[in-house]
Symmetry: C2
Subunit: 214 residues, 2 copies
């Protein structure tokens, strides 16, 4: 029974997501939907990304959180347009929430919009928001068994950022097995190991983004 | 609109959760609902817990996962009754899923049932399964800002296990702030820092469980 309800919600969401998508095309805005578990490093990655790209791209950020505007405050500190969406309990952003957030942005002045989804390895993967690409970030502290246990997010993402690789010496994380499992779930997945602490790997991520948001 | 749908699901769930609860009371089974993000250390904690208690308590485990039976295989290796529930996409266990799982267990032969929920810091907190207590596990690698950003799970839990404290030297995690925020959200929360790697703190957790499952 519940699955039926979820299906109805998803269909209703698709309609709004398509409208967002058409608006982004009209305004020439490239949109990324950034997803991952709580604490995977989404906001820290965003801070680095914004700092690196803000001189060459007109960036804006939409922050999705259940409560608080902490993440938006961190991003707004980098002097770019930032919108906080509080979902008030909902465990993901949907097309309609993002549409509401867009009203607070001047899309004519934006090349690149990064939407940071609610921290959750499951539900955000089901809801389109009108984005061009889904990008997923996972930290190696979450364990190497995640691709087979939470396949949907790996399946729908174009890029997988594997964060906190500076902690690998202290963990029992099999990167080879992890990569192989992730590619089994999604053979087209681009996998980029990074550390937001040391900066390792971030250049490859910036390049990926720069090629698309131009 | 979506919130209304969620409310209907929740009401329907309450009815089944109460039936589970009555069954547990009748059979004298103490039930814990273990929740936390992917990779917080739920299954590893369970392996330690089962190993420590299995000589003095009749334990059984229900494993909730979206896909795979990997976690159940890990637990079943400890020679206790184990049931795997694959939610097939759903991001939490609900009362009905647990009821289905109970059919595979002989409750007359069980003192303590631990239900490991789907890895997710959000949705599992909303769904009763008929448990006596909710226990939450978070790893310090997830960051110290979680209590205010994901308040519901902290609010509904009786115990908060703060895992992976062996990694604290390599992280920027303010335990004092974290405790204070967690207690702001739920003043009755019992907070137990642990490391499943070194074993630190686990005795306090075992004692908590032993006092209740007797």
């Amino acid at each position: 029974m519940e699955i039926k309800v979820v299906r109805n919600i998803l269909e209703a969401n698709e309609v709004i997501a398509s409208q967002n998508s058409a608006l982004f095309a009209e305004k020439g805005v490239y949109v990324v939907n950034l997803m991952g578990s709580p604490g995977a490093g989404k906001t820290t990655l965003l801070e680095h990304t914004v700092e690196h790209l803000k001189d060459t791209r007109k960036i804006a950020v939409i922050e999705g959180d259940i409560e608080t505007s902490r993440d938006a405050e961190r991003i707004a500190g980098h002097a770019i347009p930032t919108v906080q969406i509080n979902t008030g309990g909902a465990c993901h952003l949907d097309g309609n929430m993002v549409r509401s957030g867009l009203k607070a942005l001047d899309l004519d002045q934006i090349d690149l919009l990064i939407v940071e989804n609610v921290g959750n390895l499951v539900c955000p993967a089901e809801f389109q928001i009108g984005e061009h690409h889904k990008v997923m970030i996972i930290s190696v502290t979450e364990g190497d068994d995640k691709p087979l246990k939470y396949p949907l997010m790996f399946q729908v993402s174009s890029v997988l950022l594997v964060n906190k690789i500076d902690l690998l010496p202290y963990l029992d994380f099999d990167m080879k097995q992890f990569r192989s499992d992730a590619l089994k779930v999604n053979p087209k997945l681009e996998i980029i190991p990074i550390s937001c602490t040391t900066g390792e790997g971030l250049d490859a991520w910036y390049r990926w983004l720069e090629e698309r948001a131009s």
